[in-house]
Amino acid sequence: MEHLTVDVAIIGGGTAACAAAVALREAGLTVALLEKRLCGAGASGVNFGGVRQQGRDVAELPLSRRSRALWDGLNAKLGEDVGFEATGHIKLARSESDMAVLEAYARDAAEHGLDLQLLGANALRAEMPWLGPAVVGASLSPTDGQANPRVVGPAFARLARRLGAELREHSPVRHAAHDGAGFTVEAEGVTVKSRSLVNAAGAYGGAVAGWFGEAAPVAPLSPNMVVTEPLAPLVTRSIGVVGGDVYLRQTRRGNVVLGGGRGTADVADGLARPVSATSLAAGAKTLALVPDLAHAQVIRSWSGLDGEMPDHIPVIGPSSTRPGLVHAFGFSGHGFQLGPAVGEILAELVTQGRSTSPLHPFRIERFAGWRGGPYRSEGEIEH
């Protein structure tokens, strides 16, 4: 059994956790990160890959805007091409009432400094003639885009390691507690003692909070993803719809990644798998938006395990019961874009006890009166 004593222990190895390890090392603190499997292999590694501000809960927009600024510099920071491209994100309306939703959202977003362009049917077709007749209008966020989720988390992990963080993979955490003097985190093969503790445990974040007497109802969420063979360039922007039941993008190499609906997840073993009927349904919805994909072949499908909160926004902030403990979990299927900023915010919370970003909506105390126990996550995932 290995014993480590550090300033900060981090539970979880997703993008936000690894980015926090980087930021904490940059602040001169010693760090040990404990990941159940491989860093960046969970929700942050198998998601859609959307780098999107548009469509988020307005409470998330300040964080999302902050993160977007970081995405521009990620290749340089990480020393690796993470495939980020500002292709723009376009949210499609399939009815007049959808269009009204987009118009209302654009007004709210403008207040947060996010400029969205509303496009009527004619303007939309002029720019994207490959869109199907089901589409009546759209909202374009030109600064949004996409990236390769498989490489971002691992790249942050390697940078953290280069900066001197202790990363322990295949080290599931069994328990964590505070003895009055500091935290003790017991993981498989390693015990970590620390002054501060970061709970970035994704779908397991509620369980970690529970060890410290805090309620945080997290439901497993597993977005269903499908990818086609490489195709000639066609889909120029990352695409979503009002309602969130389908989304797609074309990668630099030509594959069209599409999602919608849910896979199944086994929280006990941490594995998620796609559901065939859901994959086929996502295909049909995609073809209604982009009929020219009719002859594309699907080559793979997958899912991943994320945690979803009842109000679909994450828990980010200090513990309400234990000083030194900070939370960041329950990203509800849309944490990928936020990851780089959340890493910085976690480091601020650890080193200064507060963040420059407004975190009030994400406080864990909002669930203090939660009596429902576990709940079932339902409905579409705005991915």
Binding site: G45, A157, L293, S301
Partner: protein, 458 residues
């Protein structure tokens, strides 16, 4: 009580024998066949219009081929045969059993089954060498299928390369059919074959066949060489020549326009993976395979395994395993057992297992050759990922196991899901890390097992 629904996936020797046993017991099994006519790859039948005499197609095995084809015809009224149907997804069904996602002549369909017999067969095992992605380089199995199913040769001057009994067989078949075979190159060091000879002799018929084919090749004047190294295909846009080093280190160049090259077989085990079967590393053949008991049980109580899809044993063994697995399934259903038949099969299978071990020792997967794969060589054919990219992922990007290697490099992420590159990529990764190949794990199977159209077929 309703009778259990059994779905057999694959209609080669193993699947057909399993179907026979289940049909004899009064079940009406589903027999799901990706091919259009039962027989599998080994006893593949030409499509209608391209038929030829069995003796021309199957040689020594004509009798067995005919017997299985006749069996398929005889079984037709007693089973639910689904030709031209690909199982692309398998998921557990509540409260028990499986849903099989199928793509067949009528489009997508879903089949519910209580129990599965997976007899999914094998494909050629490959290893990259310079020029192996040029048009005109095929697997040995491909060379054989072109001949069996189409009456065609893969080229006008064909070089054949391999490590295993398929090599002299294909060479012989090509020559007999009138093709020009310019070289028959065995990469197996002669020593391995000599060491294994005493055990191979335990099954004289097979040994005799191997010797006969090799002799026949030599008699026809084909240059047959053992212990060949440093293969490379030359040509800018197409195959122009094959170069190699003989056992004594001399360099040769043979002009040719097509190459058939394989290094043994690998199990097609994606269906077992999706069905939730546990896998184990099999050191003799250096591949991961679904755990299979002598009776054909997998680790999953409702899944049975038979044939090359769960461990390479060849066609004769596949027939025995198909029969044995179906008997085990019937026993699990509470049907009366014929223990003497079971015991007889178990004895025959045990004998075959000994022989197979000797054969694998005689023709080992030449994994040591991965050191000769240059950094510029493509390993993943689908995505065009080079050996250098894999090696850099190991040394610079902390890739320690296959699925991480796939995530970082895209190797195994293309249309074939790593069927072709997976073994070589694992050997390259393990070699670079200095760990045993089993330590880097295996690529997981994902639905769809093979490409399916985004649009539901009309």
């Amino acid at each position: 009580m309703a009778e259990a629904t059994v779905a057999i996936v694959g209609a080669g020797p193993a699947g057909l024998r399993a179907a026979q046993v289940l049909a004899e017991a009064g079940l009406r099994p589903l027999l799901i066949d990706e091919g259009h006519r039962a027989g599998g790859q080994i006893y593949r039948r030409p499509p209608p219009g391209a038929e030829r005499p069995a003796a021309d197609l199957y040689g020594f095995e004509a009798g067995r081929a005919r017997a299985l084809h006749d069996l398929a015809e005889a079984l037709a009224p007693r089973i639910d045969y689904r030709p031209g149907t690909m199982v692309w997804g398998i998921a557990p069904r509540e409260p028990a059993g499986f849903d099989l996602d199928c793509l067949g002549p009528a489009g997508h369909g879903r089949i519910a089954a209580d129990r599965l017999v997976l007899a999914t067969g094998a494909m050629d095992r490959t290893l990259p060498f310079p020029g192996w992605t040029l048009p005109g380089v095929f697997t040995l199995g491909a060379a054989q299928i072109a001949l069996k199913a189409q009456g065609m040769a893969i080229g006008r001057r064909v070089a054949l390369v391999g490590a295993g009994p398929l090599l002299p067989l294909v060479a012989h078949q090509y020559a007999k059919a009138g093709a020009t075979v310019v070289a028959v190159l065995d990469v197996t060091p002669l020593g391995a074959k000599v060491r294994a000879a005493p055990r191979l002799a335990a099954v004289p018929a097979t040994l005799a066949k191997g010797v006969w084919y090799t002799l026949a090749c030599a008699l026809r004047g084909m240059p047959v060489r053992s212990g060949v190294r440093a293969l490379a295909v030359e040509g800018d846009h197409q195959v122009e020549a094959l170069t190699f080093e003989d056992a004594s280190g001399r360099r040769h160049r043979v002009a040719c326009d097509a190459v058939g090259a394989s290094f043994g077989l690998r199990s097609e085990a994606q269906a077992a993976d999706l069905a939730g079967c546990r896998f184990v590393f099999e050191p003799l053949t250096r591949q991961w395979q679904p755990v299979r008991s002598g009776q054909g049980h997998s680790s999953h109580p409702q899944v049975y395994l038979a044939g090359d899809g769960s461990g390479i044993g060849g066609a004769d063994v596949a027939e025995l395993q198909g029969e044995r697995a179906a008997l085990a399934l019937l026993a699990d259903l509470g049907r009366p057992r014929d223990t003497s038949r079971e015991a007889r099969l178990d004895r025959r299978l045990a004998r075959q297992a000994g022989f197979r071990a000797a054969l694998e020792a005689a023709y080992p997967y030449p994994h040591h050759l991965v050191d000769r794969i240059g950094d510029d060589e493509i390993v993943c054919r689908c995505e065009g990922i080079t050996a250098g990219a894999l090696r850099r992922a190991a040394t610079e990007r902390e890739a320690r196991e296959m699925n991480r290697l796939k995530a970082l490099t895209r190797a195994g992420m293309g249309r074939c899901q790593g069927r072709v590159c997976g073994h070589a990529a694992a050997e390259i990764l393990a070699r670079r890390l200095g760990v045993p190949v089993e330590a880097v794990g295996r690529l997981r199977g994902q639905a769809p097992i093979k490409p399916i159209p985004l649009r539901e077929p009309a």
